[in-house]
């Protein structure tokens, strides 16, 4: 699979990676090489073998619904680039957002 420059720029935009001063041609070639390497996975004949995401066929362990202490706000925010009170401060995100 060949990756073109447009795809690289799109993925970089999604990942919020600044490509300013980056050799995009080189990056495009490298990404193509990586994908070509991974594409070898398509070669073995896996017809009739169910897809597995895990090597060990065992059920998911569950835990009881019992609270445990976690981090204090100071510990949690120690590596945050900016904070305001006990909040993490990030550049303003305009759209509503949030998961789900």
């Amino acid at each position: 699979m060949n990756v073109d420059e447009k795809t690289i720029r799109h993925v970089a935009a999604l990942a919020r990676i600044d490509l300013e001063g980056v050799d995009v041609d080189r990056l495009t070639r490298q990404m193509s090489d990586i994908l070509a390497y991974v594409e070898q996975l398509g070669e073995p004949d896996v017809e009739g073998i169910p897809a597995t995401a895990h090597a060990r066929p065992q059920p998911l362990p569950l835990r009881e619904d019992t609270p445990q202490p976690g981090l204090t706000p100071d510990e949690a925010l120690r590596d945050a680039p900016k904070r305001q009170g006990d909040f993490v401060l990030v550049p303003r995100t305009v759209e509503g957002g949030g998961a789900t």
Binding site: P61, D65, G70, F87, P91, G97, T100
Partner: protein
Amino acid sequence: MAAREYDIVIGLEVHVQLATRTKAFCACPTDFGAGENSQVCPVCMGMPGMLPVLNRRVVEMAVLLGLATGCAINRESVFARKNYFYPDLPKGYQISQYDKPLCEHGKLPVLIDGAWREFGITRIHIEEDAGKSMHGGGGSLIDFNRTGVPLLEVVSEPDFRSADEATAYLKTMRRLVRSLGISDGNMEEGSLRCDANVSVRPTPDDPFGTRTELKNINSFRFIARALDYEAARQWDMLQHHEVVVQETRLYDAEKGRTYSMRGKEEAHDYRYFPDPDLLPLIVENDLVEQARGALPELPWQRTRRYMDDLGLSAYDAEVLTADEELSDYFERVVDEDVPAKTAANWVSSELLGALKQRELEMASNPIEPERLRSLIKLVAGERSRAKSPRTYSPRCSRRRTIRRRSWRRWAFSRSRTKGRSPPSWTRSSRKARRKSSNTRAEKRRFSVISSAR
């Protein structure tokens, strides 16, 4: 409702925040209103190398909701990563379920205008919530306390043909999750959130039109308005030969309109893949059977019982079962001397009216059901002795108001001040009583109250 010149098609995605003590994949507490970033740990903060461990209670609650809605419970389901970038999602992905959800193919019975309807549920899956962000001039403030709180996403079939149907479904869903005890269903606090897919078409025989997704409609008051606005907007576009774009839109409650939430659709490739940190979830028979045994009487079963066994009207049954506490209270008022119909009248009109007047919630209702029951008996006894008429002249209706106020005052003052007697009739009612003879006044008082609706 006025006839529309087009057909609306709506599907709902309801997010139910589960009332567990800890988060979905870590043991952080989920207490509402805790200080910012005080209920976090390396797992929910997305620190490298941390491993999620699923909360058993989340699975139990999901199975409970699945069984209540008649879903098939998949004995094997898979957690997937939904990848996207947003500051309130520290891992860079949300743990969700994708092609193998826990529950599928259910339905929700909803009473609309006295008739039962069933709306299809496509799937129910487990996922985790994102953090909260607040936007200000200097940037956005992020609180990760909510990050990792368990959610159930309930996806409906595109079965709704009006905003009212969608609203009725959502209200029934809220009653259901509350009666199952899996969520407080509070929309204002975000425990119940709703996204809607909306499209329009000229007639029900046409294929579905292009849909837009309305995000986070977080109040019952706005749902119908948001849906109707969006449908009208789309129809208007089609009338002007414009093309409806498939996109995510937000409803602005103040302006009463929806607007495009551009920027997000670009990232719509969520690159779902099975989460390598989580093995497939295997639900054992024991868990399903325990959940089945724990199912309470479901809201629609209760509504049907009120109609079929107690002989209440669809309206009364709906009012009384709209709230679990109200319904339980009503059942404690009914006994062999107080028939259901009488109790229903007193509870749904007199009691609710009095509470509303005092701006009290059912939870803080000061009148014990036993006291209301004895009052009903007292009134019924007096009424049969007095053999009073059931019809009133307009002149009486003013007194009727006075009398109704009087009993309420009596009941409330009694419940506040123990053992206070005799009934604390107000000056206005004393004055009213003095106007006529005692006998006539008594007659009126009781006949009026017992027929009050």
